[in-house]
Symmetry: C2
Subunit: 550 residues, 2 copies
């Protein structure tokens, strides 16, 4: 795994390629906002994440309305609030960042989420990138209905076992009880196969490569904004092939698309690998995953690609006539990335000051803050700021000029840092006089992140050079273990444990029960040489990575 | 209303601006495909459109599976099928076009639709255009949950009256009966207001301008692909303002965006106006609409913009503090265009040969068909065709080169005409020799639509000039009437009737009952002078347009 990379970014416009940050720095000051007057009550928020339908009955709308009233100022203004320090309470910090940066809010129904414009813009940037990649790799978008006859879900044995506890079910339509209950899609393999059976007849109809952007519903017990919500947005690719080799190639190709996306767009280093049998998608033969390490060192499954084999084609009798005139069941894949990824971005990059967005996915990539004290300085400064904005805007940079005169520059610095804007350009009277600007990087705190005296000339402005070092949290937090004791020790320290594994599903379940950690994956990058299972002492083919996860 | 326009389009690349066609031509040959061997049974299709939950209970999945089997070849190959002549049976023609051009298919649940890649690509083109316009006019995208507490729907009196018969209701979640039933959104005004109440506090929070792209569910009795389905895709804009004037301005601005879209992108002439009280959106003060005339001269409501006044803000108590420190209810709008618009495109432009797509929204804008007889001609022809493709592709044209050698050029001509591709470029050995190509327009049949001897030079190819005449069906089919008898006569002839109207809601209901026609709108373009109500003989302020509609 590449965990340390030194990037030399050639220009401001091409900066929006991969973000960079050091995680080995002192925590930022707790209270950055001078105007903080009170602690924002995040009771409702904390309650949301801890809600459990198992331990408490669903709340009525009235109760929720009261909760929401409590936090009704959450989106009014930002200067009145603080963010819980990340090191103090990671979960509270996460919810504070989401509220303060106005990424999302709580929907009226337990476990649902409203994605607000700033959060949705991150999702749109994710969509824009992936949509192009999917089309480049030959996939077409389409749309399947979200209502699935209940009987469909029951056709594939492990699929129904995996999903039936999580279903939302429509029983009334147009004022009447329905004869067959309808499932609100938790995923679309069943209805996709139902349609594939109509569309696929011959090997000439293969491969069939499609994708849909859609909402899906899973009745989760414990929810957390972005990471796990009752309804979420995602893309789901579905493909049909004539041979198992082609299906495998497709599944690998798409986990590779996700891996590149994570590294190059989201600046999130991920471990790529295969899920254990226990953790494989309900209905898949093999599941590939990208696992990201969050700021609290828990793992987040950030994208998956499934080789479905013939499980669904046998259940739905999806056959084709091969070149020899023989009828065969098709070979399939499915793969998905969801709004959960936005949660991954927050939890990977954020710090005590708030959000820290990877440049390529940031809704605002550069904020320009003009600084003046005397009235006669204002016009010159605003002029220069507007020109800089125009130059960057024309170069395709998402730039925001914060020229309001009701806030101080210091307030604006803090505000846009909290919003995670990657680059700040400061322009004051002295800069105007010298024809230069000051640049501050969100990912490098304090003076170290500042570059002074950048020329205001358009040709220079769009060619600003940065040197960025990409230190990964992952590097120092994956521990090689050779025994179960070592594994337990690593997990108890909040780290990921990596070691040879060939033990049984029961042993895997025991690890989960005793440590809280699961096999995140068997990583594609495997060490050479003979290996001995950390649990049984028997020979092992592969190393696995264990971690606690979201 | 502008119903006749002569456009001179400067180049092939800018051709994709507004399509053009003559509707006053002889019907095309019925059976274009030489290989037609059998009539595709569209029983299942016709059944779909005529399905009525009122007259027949919902079908079981098994029954539907049988139906789908009947038409299971519908998407296999196209050369085996014919399209019902449009003049013979407009509905059968519509369903045939959808099936043959592979725009959509029937979902397993009654009234649901699968949007296939070619149909979805049209929707994506619609999204691409509108999304830019929405952002240019200051709106941000976001996402609201689709599950709405049942009690929300009941808060606004006329809203619940309008929507309660059409609701899909989730009563089971995670295997348990829910305490409060959840509505699958039929539209989002209620949940939007619930959230606006959290977010809006001061006049400084206004205007709040948002939009979401989403699926919505309405339990329709009679369904028809694209036009009316149980679940459909749309965008819904929602805005909040400090004054009624601003809300009115916004509602007008957005119906104007839709009007320009209809004319300039979809090449659909529409009548823009205000809905009658009876036809106003459930919960709105005023509804503005664009009404399009389909090929069978029925009206299609193709987009609406609602001034909601304070109806929802009073129901949800959405208030703000104005500049004088007074609490006031906000003023709101909402506006929507849906996948129904794709149905409007099919029914406006299509002909007996199949689909006819407006250039700007066509998934394939130009198809190149190479023609060769002898083997020694093939390489030269394919070479020239590839070059032409590259030139157009680089110029941003969506171009397809159909170089398969299993089909004849004639078969390809028919196939791509059926798929509605606006421009065909033919390249044969003689064209290669003379360095030129032949161009055929989809909207002008036969030799009239052909232009010979266009130079193959890249600079010429992207600068091809067309003269297009834009004859509208609307022009000759709106009849001015001054009495109820004249109105009845016009409607019975399948035309739209336009006349002064100041009669009661009861009279409006009577017209509907006796003629099947409704007031489509009071058009914005009103004649000058005094008017006398066609029904009552009393003075009238406005003329209304009556028509049968989808």
């Amino acid at each position: 795994m590449v965990v340390v990379a030194s990037l030399r970014l050639p220009s401001l416009t091409s900066l929006f390629f991969a973000s960079s940050r050091s995680t080995h720095r002192a925590p930022a000051a707790l209270f950055r906002r001078r105007h903080s007057s009170r602690r924002q009550p995040f009771l409702a928020a904390a309650k949301f994440s801890a809600q459990s339908a198992a331990s408490s009955p669903p709340e009525t709308t009235e109760e929720l309305a009261v909760n929401l009233k409590k936090s009704s100022n959450s989106s009014k203004t930002n200067q009145d609030r603080v963010i819980t320090p990340r090191s103090q309470d990671f979960n509270a910090w996460y919810l504070d960042v989401i509220a303060n940066a106005e990424l999302a809010d709580y929907g009226p129904v337990r476990g649902t989420m409203v994605i607000r414009p700033y959060g949705y813009a991150i999702w749109e940037a994710i969509q824009d990138y992936l949509n192009v990649k999917f089309k480049e790799t030959g996939h077409s978008n389409m749309y399947f209905p979200q209502f699935i006859p209940y009987s469909f879900i029951e056709k594939e044995a492990s699929h129904v076992e995996g999903f039936s506890p999580e279903l939302a079910v429509v029983t009334i339509g147009g004022g009447k009880e329905l004869e067959e209950k309808l499932v609100v899609r938790p995923t679309s393999e069943t209805i996709v196969n139902h349609m594939f059976t109509q569309w696929i007849h011959s090997y000439r109809d293969l491969p069939l490569l499609i994708n849909q952007w859609a909402n899906v519903t899973r009745w989760e017990m414990r929810t957390k904004p972005f990471v796990r919500t009752l309804e979420f947005l995602w893309q789901e690719g579905h493909t049909a092939h004539a041979t198992p080799e082609e299906a495998e190639e497709e599944a690998m190709k798409m986990i590779d698309v996700y891996t590149k996306f994570a590294y190059e767009e989201a600046a999130i280093p991920v471990v790529v690998g295969r899920k254990s049998r226990e953790e494989t998608f309900a209905g898949a033969v093999r599941t590939y995953t990208i696992e990201a390490m969050m700021g609290d060192r828990k793992a987040l499954q950030a994208g998956t690609s499934h080789n479905l084999g013939q499980n669904f084609s046998r259940a739905f009798d999806t056959q084709f006539m091969d070149e020899n005139g023989q009828r065969q069941h098709i070979w399939q894949t499915s793969w998905a990335v969801s709004t959960r990824f936005v949660g991954g971005i927050i939890m990977t990059h954020g710090d005590d000051a708030g959000l820290m967005l990877p440049p390529k996915l940031a809704p605002v990539q550069v904020v320009i803050v003009p600084i003046w004290k005397k009235d006669d300085e204002k016009a010159g400064v605003l002029n220069a700021a507007s020109s800089a904005k125009e130059v960057l805007h024309s170069a395709g940079v998402k730039v925001k000029l914060d020229d309001s005169d009701t806030r101080t520059p210091g307030w604006k610095f803090n505000f846009w840092e909290m919003k995670g804007v990657p680059i700040r350009i400061e322009i004051g009277p002295r800069d105007v006089a010298s024809g230069s600007v000051v640049i501050s990087r969100r990912d490098v705190p304090g003076k170290q992140g500042k570059v002074f005296g950048i020329s205001m000339e358009p040709s220079t402005l769009v060619e600003i050079k940065f040197t960025a070092s990409f230190f990964s949290l992952v590097c120092s937090n994956i521990v090689d273990v050779s025994s179960y004791d070592e594994l337990k020790e690593a997990i108890s320290q909040g780290k990921w444990a990596r070691g040879p594994w060939s033990a049984s599903d029961e042993d895997e379940a025991r690890v989960k029960e005793e440590t809280g950690a699961t096999i995140r994956c068997f990583p594609f990058e495997q060490p050479a040489g003979t290996k001995t299972c950390l649990m049984t002492g028997q020979p092992a083919e592969e190393i696995a990575i264990f971690a606690k996860s979201y």
